[in-house]
Amino acid sequence: MTDLLRIGASGVRAYQAALAVTGDNVANADSENYVRRSLSLASAPAGAGSPFARETSGGSGVIAGETIRASNSLKTNAARVAAGDHERFAARSEWLNRLQDSVTGSALDLRLGGFFNAGVDLAAAPTSVAARTIFLDRADQAASGFAVLGADLARLDADIGSAVTAATTQINAITTGLARVNDELRRTQSGGTAANGLLDSRDALLAALAERVRITVTEGARGTVVVSLGSGNGGAILVPGNGSAIRVGVRDNGGTPELVLDPTHGAVSVRLPASGSLAGLIEAKNEVAAARTAIDMLANRFAIAINDWAQQGSDALGDPGTPLFSTTTIAVLPGAANAGSAGIEVTLADGAVPAADGYRLVRNATDWTLARIDGSASVSGPGPLALDGLTVTTRAGARNGDSWRLDPVGGAIGLALRPIGPDRLAVADRYVSDASAGNKGSARLLVSPDASAAGFAGTPPLRISVTTFAGGIGTADVTEIASGLLVATVTLDGSRISGTGFGFNLSGVPIVGDSFRLLATGAGSSDNGNARALDRVRTISAAGGTLETSLDASLAGIASRLAETDRLGDTAQAVRDDSARARDAVSGVDINREAAELTRLQAAYRANAQVIAAARDMLDTLLGIAR
């Protein structure tokens, strides 16, 4: 009778525990990292039938065993890997999107096109001040387009750098957490609530880690894990089974970021597996760096081409043209340890060439010192300070010892329009030529400036008169028109003839007696030769095509990599969703199933209670007989 009571009681206890587990499952139906638990029930061992333990005939009830987590390590691992792959593309896509927005948002292609089109308008109205002003404005817009884009890309690069640092900080926090969970697990009896809770947090940490970097997990005793980098065995160990985690960091290796273990002591470089958000970030960083290089090269090419072009021509006052763009600006970097709040302003004089190493500005007790980094020159005073064309205006609020780095930067950021008036724009050719109206031949004289030319002496205006010509070869006399002096007799054989500072060709067939004039373009000329030459700058093709097509190519490269990343990201997301669903099918909570379970367990509970009631009835009956 007491056996039956005990059996009933064990059943009530076991199903109460099972109901509690089900209740827990329902309560945690929406907990992210919760793994469904179930209670394993086993029949209690019968007594051995020894003198001390009586063998029972009808069993001795049920006992509640371990609480089992419904987890499948293979499916969990597959879900982790898939999540890491997806995170890689998601991170890359996000930053490539920002890169694409920066490049399209700068409207650099429109600005460059506007500049060259303004050149065409300038050629149509070479003496119009309005056309010249508009052209200078377009040049300013093109330069500032480059400068804004350069600054944007630099900011983007810095932002990705911060994101990379944040990712490694998170990775280190997660691995440290995992090492601690390992310690706890080693000390905890498996199968208990505490151990299961620890395993849930372990899996959550592993999932979070796998989103950031590809890992291989090896499970040891009591659920402790060894986490190594990459896929398969042999990767660098991040979390050992016993001991503290190894920190990781990202450092710059000659322009390309690389992953290192233990960055603070004896850093070891390791290959970063191509999965996880860290990989995506570093790939995006490389993309941004490549875009920056491309834009900087393009800016330099643009500045050199346009400055060369401007110097080939002659301005409205008859003087040789001056460069349109300055290519250097000063970047100000406040010292990391600055205690004060002072801002400083730096201006670079037009045409000044700052020292390549840069400068340091230091606040002393009483005044300021601006010095070249190499120490070869310095100035001190209360400010403003001037050195090498740099003028530093200081503001109040600096503390003693505050310092600033002033570095010259070129490339896209450094591009700016020089202060040039409309009159100083070189629209005309430096030299013009004309054929005498009485010429019988069809020859034309083509003259162009050439600073290095050192042929015959003689200053324009010059008259070139053909004295002999037969069979493609002839001679011509060159006379100064002003003085009438014969300065040279040159051979006409189709090759270029050099004067001083210019050279000319005679194309076509002249007839003896034909003459040509070669004149320096005077002030107020309506010649548009140099403005027309801008079309050649626009269409000249270097490596990567013309200026505009190389810009298109850069943008198309970014766009196609982004499109590819998005495509791969969509696939990776589908795989991630599938594998997560497969994992959740095993380890997730389905409340309908729990409802059914609850009904089942309730019935069992009620039945066991009924067993106790029956035992009590039987006992009552028995005791009633004795009365």
Partner: protein
């Protein structure tokens, strides 16, 4: 059959709804902007092609502005040349009248006065300015007058170089006629001992001056010689002016045909751009409608299925 997990099922349903909403939003944006491509990554190849086409289009517009300016200049040049041609025709009539031996000296004086007036008018027309104040017949030297008297009082061309050209697809088309090409050039040679300056050719203005002097010449023989020379020179000038006008006309014609070509290629560019970038509105609206229907159905079925629960049956 895999088991269904409440949380994952919810999350998946929400994700599907979100992606449907995003697709509908994108379709709406495409309809609102009328463009199929909203960012380069939507279709990098088409985007690059569209950028090239758009650039070609704006460049063609700029070229067209250049052509318009050149046309204006050539038209003004032609008008000035037409005026001068009339003047020269009149001068020829006067020269023919003056050649008549029966005229009295005072009659010839009247004729000489009119020729002087004609000379002044021609000189004025030769200094015609363009819209930016540049001298149409001055070549590239735009600031000063195209013709000015030298120390001997002889009118000389002050220009230099050639009139500004307009670049059309890499080829230069001159937008003007230089003075000497229209009016000839005064040239002299110096020979003999002591040096004697002989005029070998006279420009239009020198010819008209010579005609004035010839009409005033009292000696019949010398006058006849001078009148004959002047007449033949005037005939030469008329031919030269005709050639210059023909040249200006040919250049204008070239610019006109370039204008037509640019308009045609611009139309082709626009057609290509539309093909590359633009949304087929009918198809776009139909797609949006389809998406919205799917979104509504998905929302309704989500609400229905998430209402299904065994818990409702537990009493």
């Amino acid at each position: 059959m895999t088991a269904i997990n409440t949380r994952a099922a919810h999350a998946a349903a929400v994700a599907r709804l979100t992606s449907l909403n995003r697709a509908a939003d994108m379709a709406q944006e495409q309809i609102a902007t009328g463009k199929r491509l909203t960012a380069p990554a939507d279709d990098p190849i088409s985007f690059t092609r569209a950028a090239v086409l758009r650039r070609a289009d704006t460049a063609a517009t700029a070229t067209q502005r250049g052509i318009d300016a050149a046309s204006r200049r050539l038209n003004a040049t032609d008008t000035a040349l037409a005026g001068i041609s009339e003047i020269v025709q009149r001068a020829r009539e006067l020269a023919l009248q003056g050649s008549n031996g029966t005229l009295s000296a005072s009659d010839r004086g009247v004729l000489a006065t009119e020729v002087s007036e004609l000379l002044a008018a021609a000189t004025g027309l030769a200094d015609t300015r363009g819209s930016d104040g540049e001298r149409l017949f001055g070549g590239a030297a735009g600031a000063g007058p195209a013709y000015a008297a030298d120390a001997d009082g002889v009118l000389q061309w002050q220009g230099a170089g050639r009139a500004p050209a307009v670049v059309i697809d890499g080829a230069n088309v001159a937008s003007g006629i230089e003075g000497p090409d229209a009016f000839g050039l005064t040239t002299t040679t110096v020979a003999g001992v002591p040096p004697v300056t002989t005029v070998t050719s006279r420009d239009l203005f020198a010819t008209l001056s010579a005609l004035v002097s010839a009409l005033a010449e009292p000696d019949d023989g010398r006058r006849n010689t001078a009148m004959t020379t002047a007449l033949s020179e005037i005939d030469g000038h008329i031919t030269r002016l005709g050639t210059a006008r023909a040249t200006a006309g040919a250049r204008l014609g070239r610019l006109d045909s370039e204008t037509e070509r640019i308009a045609r290629s611009s139309l082709a560019n626009q057609t290509d751009l539309t093909k590359l970038e633009s949304l087929d509105l009918t198809e776009g609206i139909a797609r949006l409608q389809r998406l919205l229907t799917v979104v509504r159905a998905a929302q309704a079925s989500f609400v229905q299925t998430s209402n299904l629960s065994l818990w409702d049956q537990l009493r």
